[in-house]
Symmetry: C2
Subunit: 148 residues, 2 copies
Amino acid sequence: MTSQDNELDKIRKLCDQAGMKLTPQRLEIFKELLSHEDHPSAELIFTKLRERLPTISLDTVYRTLASFDELGIIKKLNISNARTLFDTNIEQHHHFICTKCKRVEDIHWPDFDKANLPESVSALGSIQTRHLELHGICNQCLNKKNKG
Amino acid sequence: MTSQDNELDKIRKLCDQAGMKLTPQRLEIFKELLSHEDHPSAELIFTKLRERLPTISLDTVYRTLASFDELGIIKKLNISNARTLFDTNIEQHHHFICTKCKRVEDIHWPDFDKANLPESVSALGSIQTRHLELHGICNQCLNKKNKG
DNA sequence: TTCCTGATTAGGAATTATTCTTAATTAGGA
DNA sequence: TCCTAATTAAGAATAATTCCTAATCAGGAA
Ligand SMILES: [Mn+2]
Ligand SMILES: [Mn+2]
Ligand SMILES: [Zn+2]
Ligand SMILES: [Zn+2]
């Protein structure tokens, strides 16, 4: 059993539990997501997918990604005010964002994930998730600067 | 000398340093920002401002807020994929965001601001700012739920 | 099988936040 | 006063996302 089969089992179960049909479109969007390790946009998924599924519509991609987000299969990100990105990695992690080239890299920091929040925070409400954004200049952009 | 005079001095100096004229529009937008302790949108500033400056244009508000952001007078926030919010508080701080009502509250956590980042992070590039987003349900929404 | 029903989709129109274009206005310096 | 560069108002344009609707699909009942 390949790792993809494993993932396909997962989506079948999740759709079933949610009472959502696993249509060919949903299945293909899911498979396309599997081939992206990073943070694709709906537009990118749509464009790639159209190569082998020419009749897919952008609306279906948006709708399906929203459903997948609700099911917890992917995560919608709000890290730029341009297009929404989707995270194919649902493990708890954070992000580094290059202010020059907008590159988004995963950051893992389990010690921080476990750290207690200040007391003043619990006074605001019930906290469910924490997400750290580190902004700066990535190495690639730093190199360009030094050379150019 | 009132606290507002103090702030007005600040904007005069900053505009001067940046070689940017302090036009009546920019001054009024700045004064309007002073009256918002929270995270107003460009639209809100525009609407409020139009009451006493009926000819102001939305474009000028957007342009000026972008300039103020570049000068470091305010901070553009990307916490939702709806309208951009601007932070009138430029001191280092973080945010709690209610997933129900979209309320945005400031969080101060100086110990975290001083904490060293993991080594793997410095390998990605040069970090300039850190911004933590805590997502959850605010007390007001929790109360509504219990009552309703 | 055939019919019915509800879910889903494709396609395009609509929405909406933001930016762009352009002509008019402003203010300061020669 | 005249010139020039910066800035503005107004509305058009852009672009990401959502909405609308008719067509398609799939599963169950008859
Ligand atoms: Mn990620
Ligand atoms: Mn704030
Ligand atoms: Zn970069
Ligand atoms: Zn709330």
